[in-house]
Subunit: 411 residues, 2 copies
Amino acid sequence: MDLESILSDVGRNLRSSLIRELLKYASVPGSISFGGGVPDPNTFPRHELAEIAKEVIEKEYAYTLQYNTTEGDDELAKQMIKLLERIYGITNLDRSNLLFTTGSQQALDLIARIFLDKDSICFVEFPVYLGAASAFRMTFTNFETVPLQEDGMDVDYLERKLQELDKLGKIKNVKFIYSVPNFHNPAGVTMSLEKRKKLIEIAERYDILILEDDPYGLLRFEGEHLPSLYKLGGPDRVVLLNTFSKILTPGLRIGVIVGRADIVRKATLAKQAADLCSPSLNQRIAARFLERYDLLEYLKPGIELYRKKKNTMIKALEEEFADMKGAKWVNPQGGLFVWFTLPEGYDTMEMFETAKEKKIYYIPGQAFTVDDSISSSMRLSFCLPPEEKIIEGVKRLKEVVVEYGKKKGLI
Amino acid sequence: MDLESILSDVGRNLRSSLIRELLKYASVPGSISFGGGVPDPNTFPRHELAEIAKEVIEKEYAYTLQYNTTEGDDELAKQMIKLLERIYGITNLDRSNLLFTTGSQQALDLIARIFLDKDSICFVEFPVYLGAASAFRMTFTNFETVPLQEDGMDVDYLERKLQELDKLGKIKNVKFIYSVPNFHNPAGVTMSLEKRKKLIEIAERYDILILEDDPYGLLRFEGEHLPSLYKLGGPDRVVLLNTFSKILTPGLRIGVIVGRADIVRKATLAKQAADLCSPSLNQRIAARFLERYDLLEYLKPGIELYRKKKNTMIKALEEEFADMKGAKWVNPQGGLFVWFTLPEGYDTMEMFETAKEKKIYYIPGQAFTVDDSISSSMRLSFCLPPEEKIIEGVKRLKEVVVEYGKKKGLI
């Protein structure tokens, strides 16, 4: 049987996430990887989770080992509503505003499925979180990209683009504006309060939904907490995605869609056809953890650890690259990533071959484009390697940049 | 914001599973439900699973609480390959032939996404497993239904249909034939060996893929094990779906796609965009369970329990309905369901209103059609209620049938 000839358009069009492919090299002995956005396993509350897991299987087996509803665990919903109030000051939520998903990746996929068609347009930031791009791409939607600046999305650019589309009679095709306002993946930037307000105002004017993705919001090292787009724009304007992957553990695979009941309902129906329900066990473990422990207190040492690692990386970049004209990096106020841009002429995808030789891994900027365009940027994750490896890794990176730069006649 | 106006075609077209809606009533006090196909929680090895969960979180936290690969746990794959050899006699499988999914519902969705387009045709049995129909429907594929007989799919009918499509030049649009050969959900029937061979032969002749779904195969009460379509047709012809939901516990949400490496690879890429990965924890729990315990031995008391309950239901149906001309039921050799058909003129969906009054619940046959056509059949699940409730439930069902029949002038 010839597989290609019987694939659907989606099947033919699928491609592997560049990150997943590149990370295969990261397990080579002696490697240092700034690649994956995976949390440090030592930040996971394993003893607490182990106890809870045992207990909820023994005592609540008729629930934890059984099928769940598609909507997910009501106990977790109760805890999540409290947590959302505490984190974001969001009130008036009830059960019908929440759908638990398999990580926020499934949330992105479900949202894509209920909103995007081939003739749809969705706005994303540039660079874009690639998990979102790969989920949206399955619908064959059209992308419009809005450049990120130091204080977040270029909202003036967004406004001009929407004006143009309006003139062309295409504003109805715009389904949503996707944004990661806090400690952007990969760009590391945070949207200012002013821009948040402006974004809501523009979305209101053109009656367009905003899809806010906030996996890292709680991982703030410095500066002040800014109100979420959901808090500012309300459920008629914003759908909020969140996840426990970066603040508790990715292993449970729990994400959540927070939004207007009718939108959540549609996403629930899509999930029903997509996988019926997420595991009861994992949701109940998370519910009991939130019930018994103060997640925000528990997060503090992890945040402190990431803050230190981030500072180590920034200091190492300054030491190695301060004298390189045109090289620049974003110093993030939180999250897991530093966005590092080399001078014009560098192609970080091509340079990856040199990096492999020196056993230092990063994610080339090309992975965060919607059209595979060449990029002189790269994403550096500081969350997993210990501090001395971060220093050593940046040194290796400098060697890579010099060697590649010489080969290409750039230095 | 007007939701309807911004939904995608998929979003607009979504509808709730009839089963999920009907089962809401089943929690009314005093109810007896033959509705859901959920296993009896007392068959779950909760003590073993509780111990294993605690242990794999404590000792393997860097794996169990971390992101997984999209393909899933290699340890579980090892165990699964052994199990597939033991159950089906399938040999020569390696890691690249397996993808773990969120239950077999996600497997159905991923297969649909990589194969089905709007102009595609997929063959399903009639009645059809509704989880499959709802996953396939999201692609707007065209359905061809093949009637089920006492010994499974009417393969002669299938052959005639394929001949017709071939004459019309549409055979290229046929993407696969979906079948549940053992203890069909909802029809209860099992495909004979002769028909299995004929099905493979037809599929070979027209070069069409078979999608074999076998969630209940191990739950055999009587009769002899028959070779799977995968075993008969091989990986070039058949993709096999399986799940731990009915043989270990649904709460872990672990399904598996077994097939040719290139097909599995495509499904893996679709899963990468759909939810990145399934929880490591759940897969490792299942792997350690399979390593330490003999699943087939452990299943025996559960099978015995279901066998007894099934016999109780068949006996009750004989007692209540033997004198009703035109009423008939399938006595299944395994699985969880009895398919019960009333004489012509009965509409089991309309009759559900009467059933609700008497607090007895079943799934109307209409739920298992691809076009919502009226049905005089219903699916009765015997797995959850205790035996005395099964007897009482069938009595109530008789009252419902008599009351409805009188109202409609059928008796």
